[in-house]
């Protein structure tokens, strides 16, 4: 009774483990698929600082995690400089370096980034939680964003007058700045908002400042964002775009690319409410270069994407291994079918797991070729076995002899089928040759000891069980399921425990003991 209860508990736990594992894997597969659309980059800052005194300061804005980007490694090299980190109220992450002596100083900063390009919706930006004082910064006038200047006020007044019906003021200002203001490719125009709006021509930064100035003049919180557009390897220049606050959420707009409200995942914001990534406290000379290089998935995986959970993902293994893994994973299902036939049906076969292995080999090969080769090997093997009986070989050499024959027959059968243009499957050679050898030997011995009828019955049983195993393991959906979810075998184990604890009558016994079902009746005993 206790054992029976124990078995039920084991079955329950196995089913639970199976369901849990499948749930976990489903989640992991989603994660992994998302990661498969990621790219990995190395952003490098090279800064040469020429300071004529000790205590000179340089501040560097560095990348942080965003809904699209993840910084998974950083490496800062700054010699004898003193470094300290801080986060600005705007959210910009800064590293401040101060010199201890005069002279030339080198700073090398490397940031390894994972950039998500997935189709899934990007993580929603978190609402702005800044205080009223901080938010007031995004409405103020600065030396280059002159919100109170006449040209700015005039322009916004004109834009307001054009608003008829439900027009989004941000969109209107964006359209104005991106379409009406000419793009200054040469970079000779004024860099401030007033100059740009006066000349109606501006650089990327100038137009961004003009838009921010117009938004602030219209009482809309706005800021310039400086960062990079990740996508091509090379030395790169900082890029500038605009963010405006709507319902506590910052919306991004790129005037140069004419992208309103939502920017692609390759926009990497680094500094908010500022147009420089590296800025000095004094007028020391500094030479700054930024470069970007793409990391191979393998390099990146070695430290960015490698997670222990991946061990459970068999699909990540090289595709060449998949067929072999699929076969290995199907064997337990064949074993379950064999157990059911042995324990519940009561069918005797030649060799306990021969049907399973034969069925798996038929799944791998084309089944028609498999059956043809199987039949021929058994037929010729039995004739050969009868002939070599006269040689009186010892057991192991005798089996080796038959095995050699099986191999030769197998290879030449494939050759013959090919010659006859019957397109044999090269996988037919995967027929379990040792199993076939033992099948031939046991069939022969069974014929001698129990008669041909009994031996043939055993062979038929073996073929029947093999056929059912074949139908089970050859079911395409089953193969795909087991490959994707090897945890299915928790259910297989539960089923095997159930079959193992079955102590009812076998179906064959219902026939075997049929005469015992009722009391003896007159006339039966002859």
């Amino acid at each position: 009774m206790r054992t029976k209860f124990g078995a039920l508990v084991v079955i329950f736990l196995l089913v639970l483990a199976g369901a849990g594992s499948i749930g976990l894997r489903t989640y992991l597969i989603k994660q992994l698929r998302a990661n498969q659309r990621s790219t990995w980059w190395r952003l490098t800052y090279r800064i040469e600082l020429d300071s004529d005194k000790a205590g000179a300061k340089i501040q560097v804005a560095i990348p942080t995690d965003t809904p699209h980007a993840r910084v998974f490694r950083e490496n800062l090299s700054f010699g004898d400089l003193i470094a300290s980190r801080s986060i600005q109220p705007s959210g910009t992450s800064l590293v401040s370096f101060s010199t201890q002596n005069a002279g030339l100083h080198f700073i090398l900063a490397q940031f390894d980034l994972e950039l998500s390009q997935s189709d899934r919706a990007p993580q929603k930006p978190s609402p702005e939680k800044a205080s009223i004082t901080t938010l007031a910064r995004y409405l103020r006038a600065t030396p280059t964003i002159q919100t109170q200047s006449a040209v700015v006020q005039e322009t916004i007044k004109e834009l307001r007058s054009e608003r008829v019906g439900p027009i989004d003021p941000v969109q209107q200002i964006f359209d104005f700045c991106s379409i009406q203001i000419e793009d200054d490719v040469e970079g000779e125009s004024s860099g401030d908002a007033e100059g740009v709006l006066s000349d109606m021509v501006g650089t990327e930064l100038g137009r961004a400042k003009a838009m921010v100035a117009l938004c602030r003049a219209d009482n809309i919180h706005a800021r310039v964002v400086t960062g990079f557009r990740v996508g091509q390897e090379n030395e790169l220049l900082a890029h500038h775009w605009v963010e405006t606050l709507r319902d506590k959420i910052w919306e991004s707009h790129d005037l140069q690319s004419r992208l309103f409200n939502q920017l692609p995942g390759n926009y990497l914001p680094i500094r908010y409410d500022g147009d420089q990534l590296v800025f000095l406290s004094d007028r020391e000379g500094a030479e700054v270069t930024f470069s970007l290089s793409e990391l191979s998935a393998q390099d990146a995986a070695s430290f960015a994407n490698r997670r222990p959970a991946q061990i459970l993902d068999l699909t990540r293994l090289p595709p060449a291994m998949h067929p072999v893994l699929a076969v290995i994973l199907l064997i337990p299902l064949g074993a379950l079918v064999t157990s059911i036939f042995q324990v519940m049906v009561g069918i005797r076969t030649i060799g306990t797991f021969s049907p399973t292995l034969i069925a798996v080999s038929f799944v791998m090969a084309d089944w028609r070729t498999g059956v043809a080769v199987f039949a021929l090997v058994i037929f010729v093997g039995l004739i050969s076995r009868a002939l070599i009986d006269r040689l009186r070989l010892l057991m192991v050499p005798k089996l080796s002899f038959i095995l050699t024959l099986v191999v030769v027959i197998l290879v030449f059968t494939i050759s013959v089928l090919d010659y006859m243009r019957l397109t044999p499957s090269p996988q037919a050679v995967l027929l379990p040759m040792v199993i076939l050898t033992m099948t031939i030997e046991r069939f022969y011995v069974a014929t001698a000891e129990e008669g041909f009828g009994a031996a043939f019955g055993l062979l038929l049983n073996t073929i029947l069980v093999s056929f059912v195993c074949f139908l089970t393991v050859g079911w395409l959906q089953v193969g795909q399921l087991v490959m994707a979810y090897p945890e299915v075998h928790f259910f297989t184990l539960a089923a095997i425990v159930f079959v193992g604890r079955y102590n009812g009558y076998r179906i064959a016994e219902l026939w075997r003991f049929r005469d015992l079902r009722q009391p003896e009746v007159d006339g039966r005993v002859t």
């Binding site: 324990v343 009561g346 009186r392 010892l394 057991m395 192991v396 030997e441 011995v445 000891e449 129990e450 008669g451 009994a454 604890r501 079955y502 102590n503 009812g504 009558y505 076998r506 016994e509 219902l510 026939w511 075997r512 003991f513 049929r514 005469d515 015992l516 079902r517 009722q518 003896e520 009746v521 006339g523 039966r524 005993v525 002859t526």
Partner: protein, 333 residues
């Protein structure tokens, strides 16, 4: 007339009602439960079984030689040169597989009981096959036993025309619960193998008297070769056989065991082998199930009972298939 003559199967509830023991239940509730794995060699290895029998004073066929190495097969002729008849059998064989009975030795050949003529080379090959483990229960290398051929008791002469009948007793907790005698036929080629067509006759546990017979799963009254009525045949020296079986079961350390005897013309009951997984065909021969009898023994005691008490239980066990005493739940002894 049968109630359902057209139905060629029995429903599980019908078999349960008759107390038929199925293979799965036999394995799970009896063999696994009361046969410790460490004691299996006592029955699987005939050499060890013989040693146990000899230590208890139970008759076994005389062992002429044991061949355990391939090299010894070349000495085979020397080993049997003085023997006119003998038996070669694998020590770990089952179901009679690999047993060769030589009835007489000619100048350069041996004649089997089936009339087949074999050369020395044939026998050496057979010995080598036994040693390789082809007939072995686990498929592992085996040893070959050359032993005396049992000459069947005269009492069987009018019942069988060829071969040697044997008697199987199933013992549970060393209590005999069911018995049958297997009578070879021409169809079974002189072997007492039910699969091949030998006759099985149920035996009364108290008297050793046969009642009814079964051949190939069908009930028969007469032996198909000799035409002798099976009912009423008495196994000679039954009491001695019964006591030997119980004594052996005590020493084998197996709770559920089948013991096979042959009745030798001179020695009387001789143990051929013991079996830790005795087949269930004995139920067909007895026309009743084992289950109620096994449950009855369980209700009497979980330990080993004295010999006389076990003998006294036979009267009740015999009646179990006729009167449903087993379901009363009362311990009678």
């Amino acid at each position: 007339m049968s109630v359902h003559p057209w139905r060629f199967w029995a429903w599980p509830h019908e078999l349960r009602r008759k107390g038929i023991l199925g293979m799965n239940r036999r394995n799970a509730e009896y063999i696994l439960a009361v046969n410790p794995r460490r004691n299996f060699p006592n029955v699987d290895d005939k050499v060890r079984t013989k040693e146990i029998c000899q230590a208890c004073g139970i008759n076994v066929p005389k062992t002429y030689s044991i061949i355990s190495r391939y090299g010894d097969t070349h000495r085979f002729h020397e080993l049997v040169k003085d023997l006119n008849e003998f038996v070669i059998k694998p020590a770990r064989g089952s179901g009679g597989r690999g047993i060769l009975v030589v009835a007489c030795q000619l100048e350069n050949a041996f004649m089997t009981t089936g009339g087949q003529l074999l050369t020395r080379s044939d026998l050496r090959t057979h010995l080598a096959t036994i040693l390789s483990g082809l007939f072995s229960l686990s498929g592992l290398p085996d040893v070959a036993i050359i032993e005396e051929r049992i000459v069947r008791h005269n009492a069987f002469d009018e019942y069988v025309s060829c071969g040697t009948p044997d008697v199987r007793i199933i013992l549970y907790r060393a209590v005999p619960v069911m018995a049958m005698v297997r009578l070879p036929t021409k169809a079974s080629q002189g072997r007492a193998n039910l699969h091949q067509g030998a006759v099985a006759a149920a035996l009364d546990l108290q008297t050793g008297c046969a009642f009814g017979g079964v051949c190939k799963n069908r009930t028969i009254a007469k032996h198909p070769d000799t035409g002798a009525f099976i009912q009423g045949f008495n196994v000679p020296q039954w009491d001695e056989l019964l006591r030997s079986a119980m004594q052996l079961a005590d020493h084998l350390g197996m709770g559920y065991v089948g013991v096979d005897f042959v009745i030798d013309k001179d020695k009387g009951p001789v143990v051929l082998e013991a079996n830790a997984r005795p087949g269930l065909a004995i139920q067909v021969a007895n026309r009743c199930g084992l289950l109620n009898r096994l449950q009855f023994v369980d209700r009497q005691s979980k330990g080993t009972l004295p010999l006389d008490r076990r003998l006294a239980m036979l009267q009740v066990i015999n009646a179990i298939d006729r009167v449903d005493i087993a379901t009363s739940g009362e311990a009678l002894f």
